[in-house]
Symmetry: C2
Subunit: 371 residues, 2 copies
Amino acid sequence: MTPLFPVRPRLLLGPGPSPVHDRILEALGRPTIGHLDPQFLAIMDDVNARLRRLFGTENTLTFPVSGTGSAAQEAAMANLLEPGDTAIVGINGVFGGRLKEMAARMGAQVVSVEAEWGRIIDPEQMIQAHRKHPEARLVAIVHAETSTGVHQPLADIGRHLADSDTLFVVDTVTSLGGVPTELDANGVDVAYSGTQKCLGVPPGLAPISFSPRAVERIRTRSVPCQSWYLDAGLLADYVGEGAQRKYHHTAPINMMYALHEGLLMADEEGLDARFERHAEVGGRLQTEVEARGFSMFAQEGYRLPQLTAARLPEGTVEGPLRKALLEDHGIEVGGGLGPAAGAIWRVGLMGSGATHENVDRLLAAIDTLLA
Amino acid sequence: MTPLFPVRPRLLLGPGPSPVHDRILEALGRPTIGHLDPQFLAIMDDVNARLRRLFGTENTLTFPVSGTGSAAQEAAMANLLEPGDTAIVGINGVFGGRLKEMAARMGAQVVSVEAEWGRIIDPEQMIQAHRKHPEARLVAIVHAETSTGVHQPLADIGRHLADSDTLFVVDTVTSLGGVPTELDANGVDVAYSGTQKCLGVPPGLAPISFSPRAVERIRTRSVPCQSWYLDAGLLADYVGEGAQRKYHHTAPINMMYALHEGLLMADEEGLDARFERHAEVGGRLQTEVEARGFSMFAQEGYRLPQLTAARLPEGTVEGPLRKALLEDHGIEVGGGLGPAAGAIWRVGLMGSGATHENVDRLLAAIDTLLA
């Protein structure tokens, strides 16, 4: 049998996890301390403050959920919805579909607003759906659809919902740290993310943020949150500065060190510079692969720089090429999901992976494979 | 402001996290690869095989949940229960109480079998409760009650339930790797644990195991599991050898490296030797602190060696002593929870922390503090 370790390192240019910088790997391996140790609580406070800045919000209740992005997605649905509530969900890819599935499991009536995979959800359609269902508890949409590379506009929907009692929930799993999320400016009430995308931290924590009116909603629920583990009311007693620091569960200590280091690196770089780097490097990749016969899957004008979804040149078969890219060139990219399976590649240039050098390596490998 | 890093290392002798060996910290920092990379799937398979051996089971569906122990506890309840089901729960501490809370949030009717904190649940009482409620979907009990140090006997309950349609669920968060769990011999259908106790791995993953009849139960549910994130039916398509390896969520890659290393160390030591080490070192601590005026909180004959709950000598106040132990001696122990708050210390000698040297260090510090 082949030994399991050491693993052959890969250049991670798929939809996540993204490459993890040595500084973050070093942080992961720091000595473990207790989850109620004052030293750890100070680290958690600092993480939460940095997350607020990155999300673009002043929301007090901002913290990493102890799970991966899908756990935070479920936390958003579980905390806001009760059986019988209406949820309006935009679906133009896998992650919108998952929002619908989760909302349904919470007992909500789901109103779907669908668009073709690869296209944005027309904000006006979301607003119309809300006009038809003003009683809706929430409107949920995916900011960066990892399955299609689509960059969803948020501001019009947020502005419309601000005057209603309906909460605005946004999936920022693949956007946080790569493009601006600006929760407060966009009128977003709840947003969640993951560490393994544009933050460049291994998977295992999932930042989430609740606006004051989302917190009020949680406080006034008529039945408890279905999930104890993800109950934001209970978590608030542990995670926040000024909280009682009441034991709830044992936080993933070493992952928190890693997230802290990733946020520190983002602040050192500067958020504007970080967004600019993602935009420039991703834009270049898109131009270069189009020149090689790839065609963009996402609608023009709404393409994420950090996640490029592209159909392969005519006459190529993606599976064997993707396997050769991994095995012969050590580069991981993602295949398509759902209706896009077998049709596209998903290339991530996220976090510390968003460099011209990585674009060069990928293009050189593609040129060899397609020669 | 004091810099957050480096942290002052602590000797972790509380109820968890336990001390993490350098080998495990080194494993944590290995290069991140993808969650669908064949190399990662091979590591996950090996982790699952080692977990089976450690749990004492041949259950195919055995894997680490991507969260902490409470996530796996919730996974057990969420997957087995539907609204209206009856759940019989033994409660003699915090974690039994949490089982009840979680079962109730799943819409179950909970039948509580209670015992005083510090005493076991009389297995005969659990069996009687089941005779009264033979329709119960599950009987749940805590094997190692972290809030009291009580070691619950399982075999009689398991034997009784084997002839029924009721599933036996056991919380092994603090027992796995410290004392034998022997799921199959004890007739346990579902057991879950955490990495940060007797495995000596940082918090962030939570092993769980489902028997074939538990899997059948999940397959024949009439409504979907409330949790999408913890849905064992969906997870089974990703985690197991021979599974479709269908993407569900992004597994915590680096935490899996660490868990793998911890399980490797357990196998290298040998499970019998490991249990013997915990028994010997914990037994010695209990004798020594009793000699210093502490009195055991858990019932004689049912004390966990890896988690000692003890009332402090008369005339001492635990809070300031515990703080001095942390700040002046760098040793973390836990305080009491619930009705035991302010009354006891909880001392963990778990995983690589279960050494005579650590007992010596703790006793020396106690002698100084009580002098």
